[in-house]
Symmetry: C3
Subunit: 136 residues, 3 copies
């Protein structure tokens, strides 16, 4: 397992991870299988979405804020229950296929750490799963 | 890794994948482990839900449309930010256990490609992950 | 694959799974890889979130109920379409890294079965995926 250090500078923010995850796959020597990108936090997440137009990331954060308003009558005393709920909606891991030692992402896809209660120092853990040799 | 071609005929639509995924598992020769169904698009998704009553699929699309209205003031110029957000909420992959060469799905479960910005030609990528031999 | 039996006592409820999943990993003998926790139901889910303050779990259920009201004009006749939609939003599986035979969870993280249409007897399936030996 490898660790990527992530540092957020705002309360809510996407932080690109694709290049670091690809480097970790190359370093681990995984040829065929999948790469698990795992966020060990409960007010953050990780997602795969458009890597081209940064307006998409803006729209995703704006939309999540409308789906889960911060001012709902939450009971948890830290004032970040919206971030906990966004974490469970978006999810704390993604799993990406690996072939020939490379992440298999779609043309427009990138991997993004989702900060929902920053700014903070965060981590991402990367695990490498063995694929099965196909017949033929 | 295997590729399944998917063709949607509407803007929003569930397309059943279970039979094709099961066939891919059999062809790959995976006996024990898990099967990753991965969508390499940013305005589509994949989910596991009820395979019996098609009203459930209708209700899921209707509900997603209420959670993420298309007319929110998004900035991304393509008019499909709702689809990007639905993709991150539902997720672009599912991972299904495999035992004895067969997908292990619950009685009522099926695997569905979620089109949120069709109609389009799409793909699904299938990767096969090696399980661990259990003790005893 | 191992099976954990789960019994819910309310319509909506989080049921802690962490200890049972860790025990299953130890019993399976997996040293490095990942553990798939899979829910074979379509009106339930599994998530990873805060394991310390139970108010967080309360807030998550309350928020999910606001995002997906039970009284939307659903067509599915069983009156549980809200539960089906929550299942697809939260997801029916989580994948947790394993190193040295132990689940790798963040300090505050726990694994929770999400019941959205109980009370019922439910199951969780646990599958163990082989990691790759790293270089060096």
């Amino acid at each position: 397992m490898k660790t990527i250090e992530v540092r957020s500078s705002q309360r809510e923010q996407w932080i690109p991870l694709t290049a670091q995850v690809q480097a970790a796959v190359a370093e681990a020597g995984l040829r065929r299988g999948a790469c698990l990108v795992y966020v060990p936090h409960t007010t953050a997440a990780v997602t795969i979405n458009e890597n081209a137009d940064p307006d998409v990331g803006h729209d995703l954060l704006m939309g999540l804020g409308k789906i889960v308003p911060r001012n709902w009558p939450f009971e948890h005393g830290e004032g970040n229950s919206d971030a906990h709920l966004k974490s469970s909606l978006v999810g704390c891991s993604v799993l990406v296929p690996v072939e020939n030692g490379r992440l298999q992402l779609g043309t427009w896809q990138g991997i993004f750490f989702g900060e929902f209660d920053g700014p903070r120092r965060r981590q991402c853990w990367i695990q490498f799963l063995q694929g099965v040799q196909e017949h033929g």
